[in-house]
Amino acid sequence: MTIFDYSLHGHEVPEVIAQAHRAAWARIAGPGSWWTGSQRVEVARVAREARLQRNDPPWLRDGISAASECLPERVVDMVRRIAADVHSIDQAWAGVCIEELGDAAYVEICAVTVCITAIDAFAEALGVPLEELPQALPGEPDGSRPEGTADVGAFVPLMEPFAGPNVGRALSLAPADNAAFFGLVGSMYAMADFQELVWSDRPLNRPQVELVAARVSAINECFY
């Protein structure tokens, strides 16, 4: 059975979006640089569960879903906070996580969490069931860490030099996951036409898209 077949639910979703979702799913399932496929799929599960409970106060969520057999407690807390309470993240909290896990391992967890969040949020907005989580693939993390990064004022080093907006290099310590995430960005928002202010061949014009983007950002208290 084909995954991310949105036509099953009566929606004509552009194939480029479905393809990007499949690619992100495959990326989540495999081993990364710091986490196994099983751990990454578990991150996705925890992120999904946390996001679905985002309207419950944290003290109610604790009794429901804290347990995870293959992830350190710190990672479970991290994923849940990113998925459901991202506005509560500050440098001190991130610093504790990074000190314990390492900066690239921290970024890999962030990357898996944001990928599944984007895909699940799309499904929920569309009104279709969430896709079943992928089966983890075997293999061990390779421990690789990219060169060419520097402190540019974020919680972790980013690719430097970089001529684009900071969000384009935010996940640069996890390059393969960053590529999967920007596959989602390119299919669901903009890529080559990001620099064009007038979108004349799309179902929504650019101000309409940016209004949605701005409202979502404001609800999440995102300053960036």
Partner: protein, 134 residues
């Protein structure tokens, strides 16, 4: 927010940025339905089924899918920005100062990641850079 303003100006419209904080319709076609849908989907509120239907009726199915895609990816992008603690981009501190103040954006938790003490001159690159920096 800045892209909302400049893209509106590019087609000769003057956006009302308060739409981004949930007031009015942004002075954008179908803005009220887009805002209602964005809020309901992001919050996961009980209003979501009705907001979906209202938006589909207002803008059609293809545009509805595009709106849902935007909701989805920006729920990922905001988490990327705030989990990594990226500061806002060079030049934007000054250029966004006025509307940040007017809309209360400086009170957002993510503002902790940017030094807002400088950059009040409004200087900075005018164009939109590539997402990949090339």
């Amino acid at each position: 927010m800045a892209l909302l303003r400049v893209s509106s100006n590019a087609i000769g419209e003057e956006v009302d940025l308060t739409g981004a904080i949930g007031q009015g319709d942004g002075a954008i076609p179908h803005g009220a339905a887009l805002i209602r849908f964005s809020e309901a989907a992001t919050r996961g509120s009980d209003d979501l089924p009705e907001a979906r239907n209202a938006l589909q009726e207002a803008i059609g199915l293809d545009a509805f899918v595009a709106a849902a895609a935007t909701v989805g990816i920006f729920n990922g992008l905001v988490r990327t920005a705030d989990s990594i603690g990226i500061p806002i981009d060079g030049g934007m501190v000054g250029r966004s100062a006025e509307f940040r103040s007017e809309l209360g954006l400086n009170e957002f938790s993510g503002s902790r990641n940017t030094d807002l003490s400088g950059g009040s001159s409004g200087e900075g690159p005018e164009g939109i850079p590539s997402l990949f920096g090339d």
